[in-house]
Symmetry: D2
Subunit: 151 residues, 4 copies
């Protein structure tokens, strides 16, 4: 089990240089104030950053990251992190990741862990609406020639 | 279960305005490269930041954070995050958190999750040595009058 | 003379919550490598950030900023900084500022200080083309009720 | 004239990997609020960062920087920026720069531009006292083999 699996991040289709991840906040993700831990939001953004930056012909290693928190999120909230490329250089590259909150789908408005899969045919929340941006991440990677087949 | 419990962060004694946390990297914390996920290191630093900033007479909410990664860490590595106050103002405050790696104690050099408590009398690793700094975090909080007894 | 005047920043029209500034790199702005000093690019972005954040009904004071440098720029290069609002809250707000390099207009391709005003009728460079982003800035302000008429 | 000369930064002795710079805030350095422009404080920190990072056996180019502002400073204030090495790697390195305000020396307490040199024998302000930290900067450079004799 990887860290992304431990936190139940779900990867959605995206172009090379981009990434879209979805995660549900559960009671296991909260901080001392009862809202989602800053580390949980960060981890979602960081994973999207890692996928986007490693989708190019190089291994990308995070050097320096910055995150601004706009609003708290709570158990039951569905989050979508969207990573996009700001600059792709030979040795370094920079990505922006917006983390947006989407309203709970109909019939899923109670807070708490949700193990049930979404019903077939449900549109991905990030396709319905842009949601409300709750945090913004900027990260820079160091790029080196790929050593292995790892993505 | 909170996020800090999910990740098995262990809180060590510290003065007001400071915090010291310890965590062991396990296989559940790794990224696509097999080293600890940036989100795991960040979460440890962020939790130390939250404890230190909420130890003052106000509720502290993270606004803006920055993290630099120096070296990868791997399953079996023991990490200690030490938060200290850089500036304490009325409405905002800034903290620095250094994350250091400590060598595995004798007899504990195999990677993997370690549920066994440290033997009585073992010195806390961060008291033995400063370790090697593997990441550096700076975070700024917004402070507002405390609403509740939460720490 | 203010700092923005010392560095000859030129303010272009923009909506509330936004700002657009233009500046020419001169030999007085270079660093030890002969390219524009990081502080010059930063100051341009920071001034756009200040104008955008103070265009709202509050005095905005910079708390925390982050900047990534993508490419060096040189004397003669024309820079345009465009600030936009990422999040406007009651007590804090966050802005993004992209700094783009625009090719020297025809007949102005020689590096060096340019004191001559642009000819009337010249289109503003940022209207011609998006330019090439050379640096990206993110900044967060603390907002407090306006004390004076200062903009 | 370089940018550091334009802003009258004064370099004080420091060990390799470190740097200490001093500057006086003048009326030409102020922002719309009448305090020193964020870009002025940043430029001082950035120049100390550049000197420290280029004092090693490589050319260092700034990639990513972060700055937190703690307190405003005003014309007449004397600032000292002290850069120290947080991490020196082969391809990247990270520096911390603290910017401190020092009280005006006796007989120099009036705000405004000060063109007079310090009297011979005056102790450097940063040797007298640590001052009050007004801003904190963290910066990461990319290091590449030195091409020239430039420092």
């Amino acid at each position: 089990m990887s860290f992304a699996e431990l936190l139940a991040f779900e990867r959605l289709p995206a172009e090379a240089g981009s990434a879209v991840l979805r995660a549900r906040v559960t009671p296991a993700h909260v901080n001392m104030h009862g809202s989602a831990h800053g580390g949980f939001l960060y981890s979602l953004a960081d994973e999207a950053f890692a996928i986007a930056s490693n989708s190019r012909e190089a291994d990308a290693v995070a050097l320096s990251v910055h995150m601004d928190y706009f609003r708290p999120v709570f158990p039951g909230d569905l989050l979508v992190a969207t990573a996009s490329e700001e600059h792709l250089g030979r040795s370094v590259a920079t990505y922006r990741v917006a983390v947006a909150r989407h309203g709970a789908p109909a019939g899923e408005d109670a807070p708490g862990r949700r193990d049930a899969p979404r019903a077939a045919g449900d549109a991905a929340p990030h396709e319905d609406t842009a949601g409300e941006t709750v945090a913004l991440f900027t990260g820079t990677v160091y790029r080196r020639p790929r050593r292995s087949g790892a993505g």
